[in-house]
Amino acid sequence: MKINYIYSFVLLSLLTLFSSCSDFLNEEDPNSTASGNYLKTENDVSKALAGVYLAIRHNDCLGESSTLYTEERSDNTGRNDNQSNAGEPFQFNDFSLLPSNSYLKKHYVALYDAVSRANYLLTYIDQAKIENADNKKKYIAEAKFLRALVYFQLVRKWGDVPLATTYFETYQDVKKNTYREKQELVYAQIIADLTDALDSKLPNIQNEAGKGHTSKAAINGLLGQVYLTMATRFESNKQENLQNANKYLSDCYTMRTFGLLKEIPYGDVFDVKKKSTCPEIIFQIVYKQGDKDYSSSIAANSQAEGETINSQKKTKGGGTFVKPDLVKEYEEADVRKSFSVKYADNANAKSWFITKFRDTSDAAGTLGHGGNDWILMRYADVILMLAEVNMYLGNEAQATSYLNEVRERAGIPTYQEMQNDALYKSKYPTLKLAILHERRVELAFENQRWFDLLRFFNSDELVQYFRAKSQDDYGVSSLANFGKKDYYYPIPFDEWKLDPEKMWQNEGY
């Protein structure tokens, strides 16, 4: 009897359970939130943005030790060790890059990591509750700026590249979007991102506390550089691109807080004590002096054995090798030469090394934990780009006046006065070459030279330019290896292998 009651009671309660609210049993695991649900508060978004900056900072991305992928590709610096494991990074400056080079893959992956993090923020920011609409716009602007910055690197280094603007969650999404998008469309996306980023309340120039974040001056400067690059790459819309470049670069120039460049001594730009107050710096990656994790090691790493000019750290070997080709390019009486390079006489060195980045303070100490910020954009760069734009537009007077502003700060005669110098005239017969020369000595070792070369020359001219150099002044890397293929990097081997059609390999590899 009793059993029957219990039986029916259980049956009844089961029935009611299944007929009531159907998501009573639906729970979310608080320990593993789906990525799409993570951004909830403004703090979450701020952290996501910090994640993008962190990706940019990586030494395989755009950090201070990423010079292998940009500066060491050019005729400024390079490596002399071509043996054993060092043979792999050596390929970059030797122009014998193999698609299976693991450093190449690391760089490619690090760049796309930054893109992916920016896409994550931009895809899911609407789910977060941000009360201040201006703040929300600022986060979006910064993420878009960083994404554009990285795509600008990708498109110049590889040409057509996969273009992703949303965060992918499924394998099908990834597969659908893995194909090399045409350069023109990538540039269009970069322009769209940067123009969008301008429409925000970011400050013109960041204050001391905000250093490391982007600013309107940085966005304008980058936008100008993108238009300028497009003008030299593509025949169509050339005039329009030049006009836009001029507009944005001038906007950036107007936002400066100093008068003329000569008010800022060259050494001040790289002085660790002045890094947060120097008005010439527009956008930088901040490094923390004395910190074992976030300090800069560029000063110590550049220093040759037996030298003390860069850092208190006892260094070995030759430091960062500077090609004699660059050393010979500095003009006499140019203050930038003695500031940027030095010859190391030590038996284990006997070569020129970089002295542009120094931190000999006690705070950095003998471990070389320097505080040097890594400068990604500064006004000398913008001014010389303005000279370049005006040269293309035919405004020679404007162009030379910008050029002279930089030369005056370096303590050397103006462009007009140099026309009487036979050596200068023979090396740089045109204004174009004079500007290229000025960029080389002003911005040496700042990851600009390779992009300058790509902008000033097309692939045929570049081959001629490199072949004309003297091998003796070049180091161990072989100039004879330079060919048309070296205008671009190869697509990493396993990326190409995954889909040889849609991720087709660059010519010559």
């Binding site: 054993s84 494991n85 043979g87 698609p99 299976s100 081959v463 290896n481 396993d494 889909d499």
Partner: protein, 278 residues
């Protein structure tokens, strides 16, 4: 796996690629270059002839050019010299590059086996157990350091048989010692670093002696007394130079089997025992 889904992974030191997983092949096959031979003094003249036609900028020879000397590797940053190994140019374009990489070995054995043998003779008995595997190849991840002929650390003793000069060519397989020699460039895997992982291992031998008339001696208090001695992992017959040819899936990385990263070797153990039946 559908369409173009070839996966190339690195299973050993640094990041150089060692395994490939592709349609039509087992998972995780070794992927790299095949060693074709060693450069001799006689080859140098032919290499010089090829140099004249070699275009360093495009890393290629003119169309239809017939190669005189051994094919050069584009991953090598130093010139071919006597005593260097050269690789097979599978597509015959005169240079050895990523396109000449092929499947060069299989980490999967043709078969694994095991057997037991036991015998008894009067009062003695012996039981043995063996196991083994045949046909698999192993990449020893530590060879990157101890078989690189670079002078950066201790090397296998077989390095004594390396090429020294034309008068001392060694055993013809181990290349010359040099930091910049073709092999020590960490960008590629070749058959030089693959070893045969076949082995026969005696996992257990037990020998026992049963006292014959123990029952009589102890007046049926002890029915049987047997002494035995056994050894575990007594010996392994293998050509493999590393610790233990029974390598696993490299700590669970399914796409890179057959890599030995110095898995702790098996210990021999010896046991003695007495078996008493009352």
């Amino acid at each position: 796996m559908g369409g173009a889904s070839t996966i190339i992974t690195n299973g050993a030191e640094r990041s150089y690629k060692t395994h490939i997983t592709m349609e039509g092949q087992p998972i995780g096959m070794f992927y790299g270059f095949k060693v074709k031979g060693m450069v001799t003094e006689a080859d140098m003249a032919n290499i010089a002839k090829d140099d004249k036609f070699y275009n360093a900028a495009t890393q290629s020879f003119p169309e239809g050019y017939k190669l005189q000397g051994p094919a050069r590797s584009t991953a090598s940053t130093t010139k071919l010299a006597p005593g260097d190994l050269y690789f097979e140019d599978t597509n015959n374009d005169g240079v050895v590059n990523d396109e000449d990489k092929a499947i060069i070995g299989s980490p999967h054995p043709d078969f694994t086996f095991g057997f037991m043998l036991s015998a008894r003779y009067k009062t003695w008995d012996i039981r043995t157990a063996f196991n083994g595997s045949v046909g698999n190849e192993i990449l020893d991840g530590q060879d990157y350091y101890i078989f690189n002929m670079e002078g950066s650390g201790n090397q296998y003793s077989v390095v004594n048989d390396r090429y020294r000069n034309a008068q001392n060519p060694g055993n013809g397989e181990i290349y010359r010692a040099a930091r910049g020699s073709t092999q020590s460039n960490s960008t590629r895997l070749s058959t030089f670093y693959l070893q045969d992982g076949s082995y026969l291992r005696c996992t257990n031998i037990t020998v026992g002696y049963a006292f014959p008339s123990i029952a009589k001696i102890t007046r049926n208090n002890i029915a049987n007394l047997r002494l035995y001695a056994s050894a575990n992992n007594l010996f392994t017959i293998t050509n493999y130079l590393g610790y233990n040819p029974d390598v696993d899936y490299n700590n669970g990385a399914n796409l890179t089997p057959g890599v030995d990263y110095g898995k702790y070797p098996l210990a021999k153990s010896y046991n003695f025992g007495v078996q008493v039946t009352f």
